[in-house]
């Protein structure tokens, strides 16, 4: 985002008439999430479901508060993208003008997508269009379950990188982690609904921060300060507590929050936005109880705080935290480790280019097909990576055997280990 665009946000042109947050749910997963969120019905937010599969769109179409857009009207004829992100991307490119017009006038565009599928290929295109329209673009994506197979996972990682290159910020929610929230043996439908509800609630509270005037106000400028900057990675989490000792309970829950990596994201955070929503009975002590440990946990972070008072929240407290880190790594680290062959997120690489490690690279045969040559490149890239993996495992501390004194404390005197033979310490050579 350029400086001048940032400038626009510092004086948010809040027009009560027109909504200025637009939420796009792309593909099946994104659409369902958008629909879920639309049910919460927040004024000032408009929802769109984008899909190339007409059947899926029709399921959502009946619901109020959400508009549907068919992708790839000409090329895919409403039959879906067949799990190929390239198809999704092409379909979105065809309709680039339409997507651009949908983003027109929006200040914040939130793109919801389940990465790994075909339609998700449209997400980076939409993000580009949204940014071109001057909107702050936030991608919220889920990563597939690892049991969905390598190919899908690879596509998801590639899609994540592409989206990251286009959007201002991407919040990444691995499905595996959402799964961990549900009890063992819960029905699939319930798991998906629950995780959608969970994510929708977090995002809704984010929208509230931005749209409702607060006691300590947070606005677009604040959000852009936290999430803007290409390749920012983030996490969002919201907790609600009621009853006694709300502040302490809220911090406790934040530390256990699955989307916040059980509180571990704070340590790496470069920026954090914290928003409190409470009734008129909200006390400074409660805020203090959350902010103090949080400031301590997120030592290096630029922290912005907001508070909203709402009569409906009497006796309850909601804390929403958005954290981001500008440097590469970590939020989806667990995924990356599982598949060491996957490309590392690359800040500078063009979206469709697979970055190659230096050395040990042999160009594929000229007559090989594009599929084959891609395969060759992929293999070589993997091979090269194995040689100098950044995540080299730490070697166990090697203990020098101490013979007779194995189990005893060292005899150290004035910094000298007297268990070592005297002649060695005095440097006397035996020969």
């Amino acid at each position: 985002m350029s400086e001048e665009q940032l400038g626009n946000f510092s004086i948010p042109p809040l027009s009560p008439a027109g909504p200025n947050v637009r939420v796009f749910g792309i593909g099946g997963a994104g659409g369902r999430l958008a629909a879920q969120w639309a049910q919460l019905g927040r004024a000032g937010v408009s929802f769109y479901a984008l899909n190339s599969d007409l059947q899926a769109l029709r399921q959502i179409a009946g619901q109020s508060g959400i508009a549907t857009v068919q992708l790839g009207v000409g090329s895919l004829r409403g039959l879906g993208a067949g799990g190929d992100p390239e198809m999704g991307r092409q379909a979105a490119e065809e309709q680039a003008a339409q997507l651009k017009s949908l983003c027109q006038g929006a200040q914040l565009v939130i793109i919801l997508a389940g990465l790994g599928g075909g339609n998700a290929g449209a997400a980076p295109v939409l993000a580009r269009m949204a940014r071109a329209e001057g909107a702050l673009t936030l991608g919220v994506v889920t990563l597939p379950f690892s049991c969905e197979g390598r190919r899908r996972n690879r596509q998801a990682m590639l899609g994540l990188r592409q989206l990251r290159a286009e959007a201002d910020a991407v919040l990444c929610l691995p499905n595996e982690r959402l799964l961990a929230m549900s009890p063992q043996g819960a029905p699939l439908l319930e798991i998906l609904t629950r995780s959608n509800e969970f994510v929708a609630a977090s995002l809704d509270s984010l929208a509230r921060i931005l749209l409702e005037p607060g006691l300590v106000n947070l606005d677009f400028a604040a959000l852009s300060a936290v999430v803007s900057g290409r390749n920012a990675e983030g996490a969002i989490g919201t907790v609600e507590v009621a009853g006694e000792d709300r502040g302490l309970a809220a911090w406790e829950q934040l530390q256990k929050h699955i989307l916040l990596d059980e509180g571990r994201v704070f340590a790496d955070a470069d920026a954090a936005l914290v928003c409190f929503v409470g009734g008129p009975d909200m006390t400074m002590a409660e805020i203090e109880q959350v902010m103090q440990p949080l400031t301590k946990a997120a030592k290096n972070a630029h922290i912005l705080m907001g508070a909203t008072v709402d009569e409906k929240w009497r006796g309850r407290l909601q804390v929403t935290v958005v954290v981001s880190q500008f440097a590469e790594s970590n939020v989806e680290n667990s995924q990356a480790v599982e598949r060491p062959g996957e490309p590392a997120p690359n800040a500078t690489g063009a979206p469709n280019e697979i970055p190659l490690e230096r050395g040990r690279f042999v160009a594929p045969a000229i007559d090989a097909g594009s599929e084959r040559s891609q395969e060759t490149l992929q293999r070589q890239r993997k091979r090269g990576r194995r040689g100098h993996d950044e995540n080299q495992p730490m070697l166990p501390l090697e203990m020098v055997p101490r013979g007779r004194f194995e189990k005893s404390e060292r005899t150290v005197r004035d910094g000298e280990d007297l268990d070592v033979p005297t002649y060695i310490r005095q440097g006397i050579k035996l020969n």
Partner: protein
């Protein structure tokens, strides 16, 4: 008096051996050694337990041997302890004498010594001994026994030997688990000094060095009182370990070579000489350079003495040790060790022999039994004072008008 009170046993759980010495109180407070029990020690490193189960077996064996030899049943023991955690410091206690006649009584002395024991020690420390050095009555310095003197202010100089409670608990727990009563816990170095030094030597000043398997204990006496003590966690094991390391031989062979060849001063005629090592079947397995062997040993021994000399020298005591250096422990068997001590400390040195004690001649002459014998001697001294104080309290109870010295 009960039969058992006349039997005093000392137990030293050393790094190389567990040693039990049994003594018997005879007339006029003398003690006679009637039995010695030994067992090789396998659960101790550097004077501290590392394998309690193994050590329990060894202790039981040593006690059995001692009981057999002395033909008595041991019920309570004086336990010798050592380890790098044992430290010393001097302390001073003060008491104002408030009585009408300003005469200093035994209670005043007990109080002032007790006051001196109240000192600031590191966490988890336990005081092993608070040994009175001398008293100050008003301005009169160096009073050995102030009881009966008249003064308004009594001060006591006390030498405190203390150790880490957690480390000390290990051997205590072991002995308790064997169903023996612990009559007292004594620092090994102090026990050895008790066994080896006569009162005259204490008066002249002497440094007792107990060269053990895992640790080297040392205690310095000057003007009749103990004034410095310490533990260096380096001992005979280090010599063996150095040999095994330097000559690239197994530890068991290094141990054997140490016993056969150890000399504290570099012999003149070893240059270029080698020592063939034969296996059990008589085959030559290795040739060892004698010069290397001696160099490794002498360097280590010289270092041990230098460290002690440095530590004792810091207190400025070396000039007061006219009685010289007294060596004991297994390390005292090393050839030329006296000469090494003499040259390092610039003091006369000798191998210690138990004094003021009678009994088995062989045991008294062995420097490695000094600690065990010292434990028995400590016990006899303690029981003597206990008897006297018991008698005194009895007299005071029934004849309160009598004034006792």
């Amino acid at each position: 008096m009960l039969e058992t009170e006349q039997i005093i046993a000392g137990l030293e759980i050393g790094t190389s051996k567990v040693c039990v010495v049994v003594g018997e109180l005879i007339a006029d407070g003398q003690v006679r050694i009637i039995g010695v029990g030994q067992a090789p020690s396998r659960g101790v490193r550097k004077g501290e337990l590392v394998d309690a189960a193994q050590a329990t077996i060894d202790v039981r064996e040593a006690i059995c041997n001692a009981e057999e030899m002395a033909n008595v049943e041991i019920r309570s023991l004086y336990l010798g302890v050592t380890g790098a955690h044992i430290r010393c410091r001097d302390s001073r206690g003060v008491k104002q004498i408030m009585s009408d006649d300003r005469e200093i009584t035994e209670e005043d002395v007990d109080d002032v010594v007790h006051n001196a024991r109240v000192i600031d020690l590191p966490a988890d420390s336990a005081i092993l001994h608070g040994i009175r050095q001398s008293f100050v009555v008003d301005d009169l310095q160096g009073v050995p026994n102030p009881v009966g003197m008249v003064g308004s202010r009594l001060e006591a100089n006390v030498h405190i030997i203390y150790g880490n409670k957690l480390h000390l608990n290990n051997p205590i727990h072991l002995v308790n688990s064997l169903q023996f009563e612990i009559a007292g816990v004594v620092f090994n170095g102090f026990a050895a000094a008790l066994a080896l030094l006569s009162n005259e030597q204490k008066e002249m000043g002497a440094l007792v060095i107990d060269l053990g398997g895992g640790v080297t204990n040392y205690v310095a006496y000057a003007d009749g009182a103990i004034c410095h003590s310490g533990v260096l966690a380096v001992g005979g094991d280090h010599v063996s370990n150095d040999l095994a390391y330097g000559l690239k031989i197994p530890l068991s062979l290094a141990e054997k070579l140490k016993l056969a060849h150890a000399t504290a001063i570099m012999p003149q005629d070893v240059k270029g000489r080698t020592l063939p090592i034969n296996s059990d079947t008589g085959q030559l397995t290795k040739t060892i350079n004698l010069e290397h062997l001696h160099r490794i040993i002498t360097l280590r021994l010289a270092e041990i003495f230098q460290i002690i000399a440095q530590d004792v020298g810091k207190t400025g005591l070396l000039d007061y040790l006219r009685g010289g250096v007294v060596l004991c422990g297994g390390g005292a068997h090393i050839r030329e060790i006296q000469r090494l001590a003499e040259s390092t400390f610039q003091l006369p040195a000798r191998i210690g022999r138990a004094t003021g004690i009678s009994g088995i001649k062989d045991a008294l002459d062995q420097p490695e039994f000094a600690t065990g014998i010292g434990l028995v001697k400590f016990g006899s001294l303690k029981q003597k004072t206990a008897k006297v104080s018991r008698a005194r309290s009895f007299i005071q109870k029934y004849f309160p008008s009598l004034k006792l010295l």
